[in-house]
């Protein structure tokens, strides 16, 4: 119990140190984030085709926010 402040410091210090990693990215600093390589889906058409094939072959669909059966007709 006597060591409580020290333990607190040991726990708090890394947390405070990690706060330095948090940066506020301003709207005008998002040039790198706007690069095509940073997109979650670099090729929208390609990923749509893959999803379509996947939903047909797996006889199941979903998980991408759209409903539908496995008939390959949706």
């Amino acid at each position: 119990m006597k060591n409580k402040p020290r333990w607190f410091a040991i726990l708090a210090l890394p947390a405070v140190a990690m706060l330095a990693g948090c940066a506020d990215v301003q709207p005008w600093e998002r040039g790198t984030l706007a690069r095509p390589q940073m997109a979650l889906e670099p090729d929208a058409l390609d990923s749509a085709l893959i999803k379509h094939t996947y939903s047909s072959k797996e006889a199941a669909a979903g998980g991408y926010g759209v409903g539908g059966g496995g008939c390959g007709c949706n």
Partner: protein
């Protein structure tokens, strides 16, 4: 406790301080070709249309033909468009301007000081500044539907004496 609440309220008010109806902050910049320097706040009796843009921003590209048309129509009547470039590499800006050639003033802000002063919250952001250097309208982003509104607001500022 009361003072703490008051303090928090004051902070909240500060963080939401709208730009509109504020005096335009002074910020000195040079044109991209380095030939002319100007202060965003010093409109010299003209209506200023200050636009913050970057080459990587899609809506910025959409806004350029509109701003160029506005410049062509109203420059002689005392409307000055100043587009502040915020690219990290000036080559990107130059390539963008080659694709979207414009007649109005393009200034560069390498240190990105002006967007902080103007509290830019979106790309692009446009500020309409009246003859007395007061920010009258702030537009975040650029959509096709904004064109008529922007045009009307610029015209209204021109009609003021």
């Amino acid at each position: 406790m009361k003072t703490i609440i008051k303090l928090l309220m004051a902070l909240l008010a500060l963080s939401f301080a709208a730009n509109a109806s504020e005096q335009a902050p002074s910020c000195k910049l040079k044109t991209l070709d380095g030939k002319r320097s100007l202060d965003l706040a010093d409109s010299q009796g003209k209506i200023r249309y200050v636009d913050f843009w970057a080459s990587w921003c899609g809506p910025c590209a959409a806004s350029f033909p509109f701003m160029n048309a506005l410049h062509g129509e109203l420059a002689s009547q005392g409307v000055e468009i100043v587009a502040v470039n915020l690219d990290d590499n000036r080559e990107d800006a130059l390539a963008f301007l080659e694709k979207n050639p414009v007649q109005f003033a393009i200034v560069e802000d390498k240190e990105a000081q002006c967007p902080g002063l103007y509290k830019v919250k979106a790309m692009p952001s446009s500020y309409l500044i009246d003859r007395h250097g007061q920010i009258r309208h702030v537009h975040l982003g650029f959509h096709d539907v904004d064109k008529t509104e922007l045009r009307a607001q610029v015209q209204a500022l021109l009609d003021e004496k």
